[in-house]
Amino acid sequence: MLSRTAANLYWTGRYMERADFLARILEAAIRLAALPAKDDPAVTAWASAVASSGVKAAFDSTGRTPSEKSVREFLAFGADNSTSIKACITRARANARSVRTALTIELWEAINGAWNGLNEIGEPTRRADFINFLDFVKSTSLAVEGATSRTMLRNDAYWFLRLGMAIERADNTARLLDVKYHLLLPPGERVGGQLDYFQWTTLLREVSALTAYRWVYRESVRPWLVADLMVLNRQMPRSLASCQGMIVSYLERLATDYGRRGPAQRLASARLARFEEARIEDIFQSGLHEYIQAFLSENHALGAAIHDQYLI
């Protein structure tokens, strides 16, 4: 396969995943902003939405201050935000379009449909319309994922799409956890208090995992168990360990198909091995924030290794 084709597929996977993540972040922010609290919860909620999307610097540099209007606009449609929902879907579609021949008709229609829908819906300002828009974004990522899994041949095109999706998902989950742990609780709010509790449940809801949490732990929501679910639990499809497992298996499939392992495979397997030994107590002991920062930079390094090995 052409390296450019592989790169386009990989980035199509990443952008679609990211669009979905942003829709979830925004949905959570709307929910959090509606909470009663001592300080103005709305400002905190919108500020943390920006931070968890990893675009705080870009947001601040535009001179905006966090508010429902400014954050919604920036994260969903911002012409000056190169990773807004709109930008992600547009780029995913542009990438897919330039590798049309590597996609099934079903998958192309799902991605093109997302883009057509985006243009039809426009940029809703009323909150109810905006929530419908977010629902639309989430439904397109389900359609894309479904079309990918139901119709694509299990060859390199598929593995690169999946690989991009898994790398992006790992990144997103890590950022989400980090921001909730550090930024969200306004001064004067008690850890373990009502707002704290609500924030953790919102986090779970954000990744469609509130019910899963109850099934797995059978107790009320506690930070270290949420972290356990999101970091180490292999049953949880968004956990860092699950993402890492997927990354390794996709890279191994590529290695088998191509008959050659390389730095990306070695890096990924080594990291997976560390997950198998990790315990959430130890992670908390040495600091969840530090753990996540280290994960993010390793994830970045792995992305670079994949790039060097296959995409140029």
Binding site: L2, S3, T5, A94, S98, V99, R100, T101, N112, Y258
Partner: protein, 473 residues
């Protein structure tokens, strides 16, 4: 202008023509809203599939659908037999002409075409002098534009032998029609068009460099997603089952072309290129080209790679060279041209220029190097100011222009706002050439001017397309 020949009703004196009889009675019986409903269905489907083209300089909608008209254009067996012979004769002659121009130049010595018209032509590539492409095929893919003015009056309006486009619409339109109107196909014996892809693959394989062996690696080279015909490039690569590459995917090492793949470099033997000569290789042609491949021409001259079409074919479809096509055909095939040229004044000749200037308001004046319906004056439809402007340009550079009478292009029934109306059409059949022969796919792209009375069918100027049926009875 007298009223035009109509594909369905002829000159209007004898009722419906035989080839259209079944369609006409079907149209009569069809429920009133059916055609419009089908038409909407087609548009929805094309949009979903992303069958679009880009319009340059149109920021608002960088991707548009070419309007598709659901009423087919029908050609009967006898008409087609005539066209097929004429087209294959013409393309055979064009290939022989190119072989000669870049070889012994006998046709120039014999005075068939003025030497200076060729040798100073911007489309003439001196780099190609003495070059012999694999299989000695120059123009693998040709699209010849035909117009019709009467029962037997088919004319060649233009030869397209550089990188002709439109074939994806020929194929997609047929797919669409079979989906929308299966019952109509049951009533007509329509010759299939999908043999085009196999035929194209064969032409490309058969003209591969010798060392490529039995299974040459073929690619389609596109300027990229921003090109107006990008959809077609990806469509063709997909149907051919080959990679769609951009310039940056290829590199040349030791006069051999490779593509960058996830498994390392892979040798490329045949390039169906949809990039103009000028942009192919920045080391040989325009140095500012970012879509080409540095060193490609060296590999080409070393005989290590086939380019389809060959470099330099543009010298054969220039609008000035066009006027000599009847002589070129006679010289190279020993036969009279089966398909007529539209009578054309060469403005480079003073007598002709004088006539043209006198009759600007009734003629069509074209730039010799123009294409896509740009840079052209349609006298009867032009304003006084436009005519004055053209008069000035024409007087300043007569060599750049040719002029033709305004042809009464035939019309065909076309859906407009739910009503069947007469709209002018042309036809672009596609001709493929391998080492042994030229083959014509039965059908082609019928382009239709959607505005009442308009003669401009180009998609860049708002024209639409129709499926073209060649009957097998």
């Amino acid at each position: 202008m007298t009223s035009a020949f109509d594909e369905m009703t002829g000159d209007g004196s004898g009722g419906v023509r035989d080839s259209y009889r079944a369609l006409a009675s079907w149209l009569e019986l069809a429920p009133p809203d059916l055609l419009q409903a089908r038409s909407r269905q087609a548009e929805l489907f094309f949009r979903r599939m992303g069958v679009t083209f880009a319009v340059y300089g149109d920021a608002e909608s960088s991707e548009r659908l070419i309007p598709f008209d659901v009423v087919p254009r029908i050609i009967d067996m006898e008409e087609w037999a005539h066209l097929e012979r004429g087209l294959s004769q013409r393309v055979t002659a064009i290939n022989a002409f190119l072989r000669d121009i870049y070889g012994p130049q006998e046709c120039l010595r014999a005075g068939v075409v003025p030497a200076e018209l060729i040798l100073t032509n911007p489309q003439y590539r001196p780099e190609m002098q003495g070059h012999r492409p694999p299989g000695d095929v120059w123009c693998h893919i040709a699209g010849i534009d035909l117009v019709r003015t009467g029962e037997d009056g088919f004319y060649v309006l233009e030869d397209n032998v550089r990188t002709p486009s439109g074939v994806s619409y020929m194929l997609e339109n047929r797919e669409m029609m079979m989906r929308l109107f299966p019952d109509l196909f049951a009533e007509h014996r329509v010759r299939p068009v999908d043999g085009y892809i196999d035929s194209l693959l064969t032409s490309l394989q058969d003209t591969a460099p010798e060392r490529a062996g039995d299974d040459p690696t073929i690619v389609v080279l596109t300027p990229g997603p921003f090109n107006s015909a990008y959809y077609e490039h990806s469509f063709l690569a997909d149907k051919l089952g080959v990679e769609l590459v951009e310039g940056g995917d290829l590199f040349v090492d030791d006069d051999t072309v490779f593509m960058r793949t996830t498994e390392g470099p892979k040798r490329v033997d045949v390039i169906y290129r949809r990039i103009d000569d000028d942009y192919l290789d920045p080391l040989t042609f325009r140095p500012d080209s970012t879509v080409g491949v540095p060193g490609l021409m060296a590999a080409y001259h070393a005989g290590r790679v086939t380019l389809a079409n060959a470099v330099g074919t543009g010298v054969a479809d220039d609008k000035a060279v066009y006027t000599y096509m009847p002589e070129i055909i006679r010289f190279f095939t020993g036969e009279d041209a089966l398909l007529k040229n539209v009578p054309t004044w060469r403005c480079r000749e003073p007598e002709a220029l004088k006539t043209v200037l006198e009759r600007l308001d009734e003629l069509v004046v074209k730039e010799v190097s123009g294409s896509g319906g740009y840079g052209m004056l349609v006298g009867p439809a032009a304003t006084k100011a436009e005519i004055a402007d053209f008069r000035a340009r024409l007087t300043a550079n007569p060599n750049d222009f040719v002029a033709q009478p305004t042809l009464g292009l035939s019309t065909a029934p076309t859906l407009d706002g739910g009503e069947l109306c007469s709209r002018h059409v042309d036809l672009r059949p596609f001709v493929l050439t391998g080492p042994a022969e030229s083959r014509v796919t039965p059908g082609g792209l019928t382009r239709v001017a959607l505005k009442p009375g308009s003669l401009v069918v180009n998609s860049s100027q708002g024209g639409g397309t129709k499926d073209t049926w060649v009957l097998d009875v």
